[in-house]
């Protein structure tokens, strides 16, 4: 078990090194950030001065080694656009994204599993068919459009919920969160629902097909023959087997939701990391782009590790650390 974790951590360092070099070279190839950030009234001397001050006039490899040297001490550089340390900037935005992603995944799981079970147990009922038809919509409608429609209906027409922004935050263990106040919750509902939609559909479909498969298995028939209650059959025997694929997918999707909540964050002006990434790409703010992707890679590695551990708990046949 321990060796498994150690190997994963080592692998992730390799991934980080390769990824940072790629991003570094990519941003370098696009051009000099000073051409974008520079004051339009500037002359050539001023542009050269600003470029040199940030070390952007040096060869690519030299810039990269300077970056690695600083990164080793935990310093990813100062943002060109915000003039504050990149890592602090990203961490400052992280709670907002984590909160949004968690809320979205909670909606997806807490609604998706019961709905999927229902559709799986009663596939021919009207409710079952409606659930499946709606889940196709959830897959196929673009997030951007759905977000705008949610705003139009719930904010502009009905006026129930705010159109955008994060609303007031309350500090929970020093981390600002918005789900603890009514006003904060009202701001959270629409973006979370928008972000949840795709994964909700995914969870519904996974749960349904898992349920359909499990319901015909011998152990379920045997349980029925033993006279177990329907609640126990579904709640324990079916659900536990259905959960294995769902956990895998939810784990991977949680990572993507955190890393790429960009569209939702942009539409709802949610001050999270995704919006920061897009803004930073627009001005080639390299310290923030590299820092952001490093953190995302680290997050993915952590989530995958967690999913593996959860696996071995759900399915005793899975043993970590053995030949795989």
């Amino acid at each position: 078990m321990l060796s498994h974790i150690a190997r994963r951590v080592l692998q992730s360092f390799g991934v980080l090194a390769v990824m940072s070099l790629l991003v570094f070279a990519g941003v370098y190839a696009v051009g000099n950030p000073m051409d974008i950030l520079v004051n339009p009234q500037s002359d050539q001397i001023e542009i050269a001065r600003a470029t040199a001050a940030l070390g952007l006039d040096r060869p690519l490899l030299e810039q990269y080694f300077i970056f690695i040297k600083h990164a080793a001490t935990g310093d990813l550089g100062r943002s060109f656009a915000f003039n504050v340390p990149a890592i602090g900037l990203i961490l400052e935005r992280m709670p907002a994204t984590l909160e949004l992603a968690t809320a979205a995944m909670l909606i997806a799981v807490l609604l998706g599993i019961p709905l999927g079970l229902w559709a799986g147990l009663k596939p021919r009922s009207g409710a079952g068919k409606t659930i499946m038809a709606s889940s196709i919509l959830g897959f196929s409608l673009p997030t951007f459009w759905v977000g705008l429609m949610l705003i139009l209906v719930f904010s502009v027409w009905l006026g129930w919920l705010p159109t955008s922004g994060r609303g007031p935050t309350v500090n929970l263990f020093g981390i600002p969160v918005s789900f603890l106040s009514l006003e904060g919750l009202r701001h959270l509902v629409l973006p979370a629902a928008n972000l949840a939609l795709f994964n909700l559909s995914l969870v519904i479909r996974l749960t349904r097909s898992g349920t359909r498969e499990a319901i015909g298995q011998d152990y379920v028939r045997f349980a029925r023959a033993k006279g177990l209650t329907e609640t126990r059959i579904v709640g324990v025997h079916v659900l536990r087997n259905v959960l294995v694929p769902v956990v895998t997918v939810v784990g991977v999707e949680f990572g993507s939701v955190i890393a790429f909540a960009v569209v939702t964050e942009s539409i709802f002006a949610w001050p999270g990391m995704g919006k920061l990434l897009i803004d930073s790409i627009n001005v080639l703010d390299r310290p923030v782009i590299v820092g952001y992707l490093c953190i995302v890679v680290a997050l993915f590695v952590a989530i995958n590790l967690f999913v593996d551990l959860l696996y071995s708990w759900l399915d005793p046949r899975v043993r970590l650390g053995e030949a795989a």
Binding site: V30, G31, N32, D35, I36, L37, V38, N39, P40, Q41, S42, D43, Q44, I45, E46, I47, A48, R49, A50, A53, L54, R78, S79, F80, A81, F82, N83, V84, L89, E92, R93, L148, I151, L152, S155, V156, W157, L158, G159, W160, P162, T163, S164, G165, R166, S266, I267, F268, A269, P271, G272, K275, L276, D279, I281, N282, V283, L284
Partner: protein
């Protein structure tokens, strides 16, 4: 069902009312990156800075210079400027503004790590405090732009800022200015909150603003910003997309304010090289020379563009056809120049005369996310050019890829937008012969060079008499435009939208100032 709907609508009304009392909530279109007024010269940052800070000189709605913290300024000799400071101005912490604060602020622009405002102060070689209300600034050579440059230098409190870094401005510790609003809170990527400064010098007995509390919400997505206004969550928004203008005008609860912006859209035509990049005949063979070096070709392309149609249809009226590199209210605008009339037949004749009866093929480069409707404009211009036989393939790039490519001279025919305080400044950056020592031609992507324009510009920057300088700037503008150094397209018109009964005094410099909103 109908009844249910009616209940829903009734229930929604409390949310749809504008803010009660003295609160104002404004939706901004671009992210504010830092509160430090001496860091980047980005419009969203400056917009906030000018609520909290003042500069020695201000600009009015037409982008003309007016007194700010300085009541008057004059030249003592050709290289010395004397500024008389306004008396009795107090910072938000109660301390009185002194010449030391001004000197400190000027020096700080050069010291902020990675700061970019040094361009406005580097020419000042000596500062002398004659008395607490008089300041003399010396330049090495005669330089007319000192009062203009100082408009970009926010005056901060020396006491509050002397030991402060950028983080102290973001947290508010160092955000002590003399402006109409006090800083309350900056939530990065989300909002900036301000409160009225009741001791504001500009209030002159009355209130500096109708609003006790102002919240700037950062909502870069256009539909979301408009939705915020429609739902009553925002009282006013800036940069209304042109496509939404008809809809807003139909809404009885809303009104708009429009003004020609200082931003002019134009095309650079590569005249630097014998072969312009990517220019071929229609069969793909390279051309014998660079057609853009022939004024007949440049003129023909200008004639081929129907500016009126673009302004009216594509921009929904939010553009004015241009014949200048600066818009009508701006210093140095030559109003005798008239927009090139649309004349496709004339364009064809000129092309034939120049030896291109069959036209040629080229790439039309443009941004895809910088200027209002930039990509659509590029497509429209390409179609217009096709009518006179020039086949233009549109290549639209995000601004982060576009500007570095342009700086490297990779474009043959490229769209750019420019906002300037004055005609001579615009010409200096865009048209003057590139010369790093003089600071000329930093964005002269076309490689155009005309010694007579350069000479007029040098004389303009050296003349401290405003009338003489404006005459020189206009002469230079006429020369550049008659020579088709670049092809001007239009001046953008900026639109603000707000809930009635709010009204806004719109500005050419596109800034959104809370203190210029009034409840009618």
């Amino acid at each position: 069902m109908r009844r249910l709907l009616r209940i829903l609508v009734a229930a929604s009304i409390p949310w749809a009312l504008p803010a009660q009392g003295a609160d104002l909530r404004i939706g901004l279109a671009a992210d504010v990156t830092s509160m430090d007024p001496h860091f980047l010269n980005l419009a969203p940052n400056i917009n906030i800075a000018w609520h909290v800070f003042d500069a020695l000189t201000h600009v009015d709605e037409d982008a003309r210079l007016i007194p700010g913290l300085a009541v008057s300024w004059r030249t003592i000799d050709s290289t010395t400027w004397e500024f008389k400071l306004r008396r009795g101005v107090r910072f938000h912490d109660g301390a009185e503004l002194t010449a030391e604060d001004v000197v400190f602020s000027i020096e700080r622009t050069l010291k902020v790590p990675n700061g970019q405002l040094g361009i406005f102060t580097r020419r000042i070689v000596a500062k002398e405090i004659v008395d607490p209300a008089t300041l003399r600034l010396k330049t090495a050579a005669p330089y007319a732009m000192v009062p203009y440059d100082l408009n970009s230098v926010s005056i901060v409190s020396r006491k509050a800022a002397v030991r402060s870094g950028p983080e102290d401005f973001d947290s508010g510790k160092a955000m002590i200015g003399t402006g109409p609003f006090r800083f309350v809170r900056f939530a990065r990527g989300d909002r900036v909150e301000l409160a009225r400064n009741d001791g504001y010098w500009g209030a002159q007995g009355g209130k500096s603003a109708a609003w006790e509390k102002v919240t700037f919400r950062i909502v870069p997505t256009d539909p979301a910003r408009l939705a915020g206004l429609l739902s009553g969550e925002l009282d006013a928004i800036e940069q209304v997309p042109t496509a939404d203008l008809p809809r807003i005008r139909r809404d009885a609860r809303l009104q708009t304010a429009q003004k020609v912006s200082w931003r002019t859209i134009f095309f650079h035509l590569d005249q630097r090289r014998d072969q312009a990049p990517g220019l071929t005949d229609k069969a793909g063979r390279s051309l014998a020379g660079n057609p853009f070096r022939d004024i007949r070709v440049r003129r023909a392309l200008s004639k081929a563009i129907n500016r009126q149609a673009i302004a009216e249809r594509l921009m929904d009226g939010a553009a004015i056809p241009a014949a200048n590199l600066v818009s009508p209210p701006v210093f140095g605008h030559a109003s005798d120049l008239k927009p090139e009339p649309y004349d496709p037949e004339g364009a064809k004749r000129l092309l034939a005369e120049a030896g291109y009866p069959d036209g040629f093929a080229m790439t039309l480069s443009a941004t895809s996310n910088r200027y209002v409707n930039d990509e659509q404009i590029a497509q429209a211009v390409a179609q217009m050019l096709a009518r006179v036989g020039v086949r233009a393939r549109v290549e639209a790039l995000p601004v982060s890829a576009y500007l570095p490519k342009g700086a490297k001279g990779e474009f043959a025919f490229a769209m750019l937008g420019w906002g300037s305080f004055s005609g001579d400044l615009a010409l200096r950056s865009l048209v003057a012969t590139a010369n790093a020592d003089k600071g000329f031609g930093a964005f002269n992507w076309s490689g155009y060079s005309n010694p007579r324009i350069d000479e007029l510009l040098e004389r303009a920057f050296a003349s401290v008499d405003e009338k003489q300088r404006e005459a020189l700037a206009r002469d230079a503008m006429r020369l550049a435009m008659r020579d088709y150094a670049v092809i001007p397209l239009h001046h953008q018109v900026t639109t603000w939208a707000m809930r009635k009964p709010l009204a806004y005094a719109p500005r050419t410099d596109e800034f959104t100032f809370a203190h210029h909103f009034r409840a009618q």
